[in-house]
Amino acid sequence: MTIEASNLSFRYGEKPVLREVSFALTSGRFHALLGPNGAGKSTLFGLLTRLLALQQGELLLAGQSLKNQPAEAMRRIGVVFQQNALDLDLTVRQNLQYHAALHGLSRKEARVRGDRELERFSLLDRANDAVRQLNGGHRRRVEIARALLHEPSLLLLDEPTVGLDVASRRALNEHVRTLCEEDGMTVLWATHLIEEVRSDDRVLILHQGQLLADDKGQAICEAEGTRDLAETFHSLTGAG
């Protein structure tokens, strides 16, 4: 699914958080949204997920305006939030069933799809465990499995590896890339960690609410005359 954002601006009171941000995401590809803390990534996710109302600009999902067709858009978007959004006291399966119900799926459908996703993430044997009993990496996997239950074509992940160790971070990143390759999923992965981004990824660099770069990692480096993304990120944002 394609996403087109044009001239997105957003302010909290008097404070501008996004300024004239425009980009287009390619269907079936992995995109990294790179920006230091406070760059405006979560606000952009808020707009894409309708948690924030558009103040200025336009968002088109598969050619349809998010403003005019919010239900259709939400049906096609899966989201993994930065903060945990699982019920820790409920089991993995109960969490998945709650999400499925919110998307209008019957218990039977929810069970079939839930088991399929848990199997894909090697978590089927933990289906009846309370989420509280899972480690951070497994919880994140459950959140991704949940985001995929209603078969979205766009997956938004807002700093999904926060709080995870290096091995879990790498495994999660690999998992999501596989979704793009095998299922043709469009992915927007927000992060401030350069090591989660590959040079052939499409990279959007956001800093102080402005989109400073939008191209393949390699191409951005060439344009900036830098050796790698870390150096590019540092020269553009002063961070990293």
Partner: protein, 268 residues
């Protein structure tokens, strides 16, 4: 979206609320201590002070315990609704609210269903309280337990919507202590929950009118009359009207950016 989608969503939200209730059943049981203290201790102390004459819906002289039991049912719902609404916007329920708001179904439907689900759990507590009240001889007619159900549902929706409206829009009341001092206690004490309004009128006419304008008074009266199988169109009418207005305001005016649902602290 088809009707079946709405139905699955409705059932899913209710189920989750009951699952959480079951997980936290000790907390819910402890929430019954407050109204039971009022019923057993406060009512025993004040029984001699406050004589109750025969007033509708009662057919005879009643004990003070019998008088305040419907008000305490309202109190259970009042505390739960305010606490539930605050947790939707500020703390425990934030994760589930994020997931809730990602549903493609209309937001007002989701919010009202969520408020109803929280209300159903409160109503379960009210019934447990009414059963325990039998021990102090509060004995409404058997059919009263069924007849009171619509009034309990209306009250829980009305107070849940009020809680959501307050939690979303009044920044100063973002903790439970603030809500308790400025919403729960004034609503509870300036109502007919603890004393009949004619007595309030004798003491102070202006306080009497405040009580009359308090929607909680009418919710308590709707509970009281239906529990004793009497029809009170004014109490029901006002409670229904206020519920509709508050539910419309709370859902139409709901703005995630005024809450902590986005995961950031609320902007000024």
């Amino acid at each position: 979206m088809k009707a079946a989608h709405y139905w699955h969503c409705f059932v899913g939200i209710q189920t989750r609320e009951w699952l959480r209730f079951w997980q936290q059943r000790t907390r819910f049981a402890s929430a019954l201590v407050r109204p039971l203290l009022w019923l057993v201790v406060f009512a025993a102390g004040f029984r001699a002070v406050l004589g109750i004459s025969i007033i509708p819906p009662y057919q005879t002289y009643i004990t003070y315990e019998t008088y305040i039991a419907p008000g305490l049912c309202g109190m259970i719902i009042l505390f739960n609704s305010m606490q539930g609404a605050l947790s939707m916007v500020y703390d425990r329920e934030l994760g589930s609210m994020r997931v809730l708001l990602m549903s493609p179904l209309p937001r007002p439907f989701l919010l009202v269903t969520k408020l109803l689900a929280m209300g159903v759990v409160s109503i379960g507590q009210v019934y447990v309280f009414l059963l325990l009240a039998l021990l102090v001889d509060v004995e409404p007619p058997l059919w009263g337990y069924l007849a009171v159900l619509p009034a309990l549902i209306l009250t829980s929706l009305m107070l849940g919507a009020l809680g959501l409206l307050i939690a979303t829009w009044i920044k100063q009341l973002e903790n439970f202590a603030g809500v308790m001092n400025f919403v729960i206690f004034p609503m509870f004490f300036m109502s007919s929950a603890l004393y009949p309004l004619w007595r309030m009128n004798e003491a102070s006419p202006w306080l009497y009118w405040i009580c009359q304008f308090n929607p909680f008074t009418h919710a308590v009266e709707a509970i009281r009359f239906s529990l004793y199988l009497e029809w009170n169109p004014m109490a029901y009418g006002i409670t229904t009207g206020v519920t509709v207005v508050l539910a419309l305001l709370a859902t139409a005016g709901f703005r995630p950016q005024r809450t902590r649902i986005l995961g950031t602290s609320r902007p000024a």
